[in-house]
């Protein structure tokens, strides 16, 4: 019985590792209304149906790019983005949304400043938080509203060792971001 179990585990590990190696690519990124250039070494976890890429695994660092209709409700705040909102106003809503998230503790907005993303007036928020286990993360979050869509790009990483390591890659991704005419 023990031998059979060991054999099963070994086979599982071999198949699992092979499968995992196969999946380290950028294929299956969702169709989107923007384009970005992604530096080498980043890959999309296959089990995520989002425009999310990572280098060392999503718990250590990830870049997430999202687009959503502005009238779509948020998870934690009932407030909504509006087309004519100033970047300061939309930044405040995003901070409220994240600060109200019960999956995190010790949220702290370190910086909230205006930013230009692909020529659009937007905002940049830098914040830190802890997860349930007490690990500390840092997120750099850019966002802007274009027509009726809210676009956001964020870089999230464990503060220890990972945040500084890949921030330059995120800056490259950010500067390559372009809306694609639909």
């Amino acid at each position: 019985m023990k031998k059979l179990l060991l054999l099963l585990i070994s086979l599982g590990l071999i198949f699992g590792c092979a499968a995992a190696a196969d999946k380290r690519s950028l294929k299956d990124l969702p169709k989107s209304d923007f384009s970005v250039e992604i530096p080498a070494g980043w890959w999309k976890p296959q089990y995520v149906n989002k425009y999310l890429i990572t280098k060392d695994g999503p718990f250590l660092q990830y870049v997430l790019i999202q687009q959503r209709p502005i009238d779509r409700p948020f998870k934690n705040t009932k407030k909504k983005l509006r087309k004519r909102m100033l970047p300061l106003e939309s930044a405040r809503i995003i901070i409220d949304e994240i600060a109200s998230d019960r999956n995190i503790t010790n949220f702290k907005a370190v910086e909230n400043t205006p930013a230009i993303i692909d020529g659009h007036a937007g905002f940049k928020i830098l914040f830190t938080y802890k997860d349930k286990k007490g690990s500390m993360f840092k997120t750099l979050y850019y966002g802007f509203i274009s027509n009726n869509t809210f676009f956001n790009l964020r870089y999230n990483a464990a503060i220890r060792q990972y945040y500084d390591k890949d921030i330059a890659d995120f800056k490259k991704i950010l500067s390559s971001f372009k809306l694609v005419e639909g």
């Binding site: 179990l5 296959q46 027509n147 999230n156």
Partner: protein
């Protein structure tokens, strides 16, 4: 633009293990090899778990004392998570006041061994919960909506009874195995959606069965004994029913999900009927302390702080009611007028902007050196294209608060105001 695919890009704030596992499970069917891999890993984990004895076996016929020690130890671990979470509302004077009320009630309990400690959680929901070791957490949301000290005593007496009558321990002893106990408690907690995230996050699933909703029998006991306790301590017992009715009304008006303290709907109605019956039969003509004035004066600051939390989650109506309640007692508080203005501005319904402007003006009149309403007025005029007016307010704001956290935005808007003035 085609938004059909946007379902895949639904916003989420923080990526965590829970979401990752969910995503993995969802995608299992489309990745057979991964499925087998996880299946084998699961077998491995189960085999390992079966080979390792659980840390503490319920079947070992632990004594009540030992079981209680286990509960208290778990409670202390969970409390540590809460205390380190940054969610505690820090107001030593208010905590002292709450603990004084608890002490009055404790004098009439039969459990001198339990030392009660009342703490406040900075959260706008209408919850309260008790750990078996006597530590009781009350949310700012429920405190902000109370009207007097007797109502506070009603809530505390109820939660204290869960501790003094060993409800957690009795739940534990009624379930034969630990896994069953954990599952039962988790199921109880999950009944109350609003508390679910917080409870799960805090790991409140093992030792406490803390919040209301153990069983109907225990809730009824806590209501009955709690009522007796508050009456013996000299409080007006009718305020217990008033608290229930008041919170129920708030919930309906605000359309918010039911609070933990009240439990789930059918039992709430039953509990209110029970209270009415007991009041009519056992406490008829029983009049005691209400202590409205002292209660309100102690909770003034909390009411305003909780209004900010309500505003943060977009509960405009609740936030507005709280600020108005505060202003009723503090008519010259510029900060409160500004906050009320913010509520109207952010709500953004018809005539709200006009109301907001009036409130900002009132705040400025009360305290011309308060920068926030200047900034808000500047933003409103800026959006309306009234650049000259906006410029004036932005300049004043920066003058009053040169290191404002929003300085970079204001400077940018101010520069555009100046440029447009030069162009015209």
């Amino acid at each position: 633009m085609d938004y059909n695919h946007l379902e895949l890009l639904e916003s989420f704030t923080i990526w965590n293990l829970h979401q990752l596992l969910e995503a993995m499970m969802k995608n299992m069917s489309s990745t057979p090899r991964l499925k087998y891999f996880v299946l084998i890993l699961t077998i491995l984990c189960l085999a390992t778990a079966c080979a390792t004895p659980p840390p503490i076996s319920i079947d070992e016929a632990l004594t009540a004392e030992k079981e209680e020690k286990l509960l208290w130890r778990r409670a202390q671990e969970e409390q540590q998570v809460i205390n380190d979470s940054g969610w505690l509302y820090r107001d030593p004077e208010l905590e002292t006041y709450l603990n004084q009320v608890a002490a009055k009630l404790k004098a009439f309990t039969d459990s001198p061994d339990i030392s009660f400690d009342i703490k406040i959680i900075n959260d706008p929901n209408l919850n309260a919960f008790a750990f078996p070791n006597g530590v009781i957490y009350v949310h700012t949301g429920v405190l902000a909506r109370m009207e007097n000290e007797a109502q506070l005593a009603a809530l505390l007496a109820h939660e204290m009874t869960h501790c003094t009558h060993r409800h957690s321990l009795r739940v534990l002893k009624s379930i034969k195995d630990q896994a069953g106990y954990m599952a039962a408690v988790q199921k109880t907690i999950e009944k109350v959606v609003m508390a679910q995230d917080l409870a799960r996050f805090l790991g409140v699933n093992g030792s406490m069965a803390a919040v209301s909703g153990y069983t109907r029998e225990f809730e009824a006991e806590a209501d009955r004994v709690g009522l007796d306790l508050m009456a013996k301590a000299g409080y007006d017992p009718r305020q217990a029913l008033n608290l229930f009715e008041h919170l129920q009304q708030e919930i309906e008006i605000e359309g918010i999900k039911e609070p933990f303290f009240l439990g789930t709907h059918p039992s709430v109605q039953q509990r209110m009927e029970n209270l009415s019956q007991w009041l009519a039969t056992d406490y008829s003509g029983n009049i005691g302390l209400i202590n409205s004035e002292i209660f309100r004066s102690r909770l003034d600051k909390l009411v305003l702080d909780n209004a900010r939390l309500d505003l943060r989650i977009g509960r405009f109506y609740a936030a507005r009611r709280s600020v108005q309640k505060y202003l009723h007692r503090n008519q010259d508080d510029a900060g409160a007028y500004y906050l009320l203005g913010e509520i109207f501005r952010q709500q953004g319904q018809q005539d709200d902007m006009k109301k907001a402007i009036k409130l900002y003006e009132r705040a400025i009149a009360l305290d011309p050196s308060f920068p926030a309403p200047h900034k808000a007025m500047g933003l409103m005029h800026y959006k309306e294209g009234e650049r000259r007016l906006a410029q004036k307010f932005f300049e004043t704001c920066l003058l009053l608060s040169p290191n404002s956290p929003d300085k970079a935005y204001i400077q940018g808007y101010l520069q555009r105001c100046i440029n447009s003035g030069e162009e015209s």
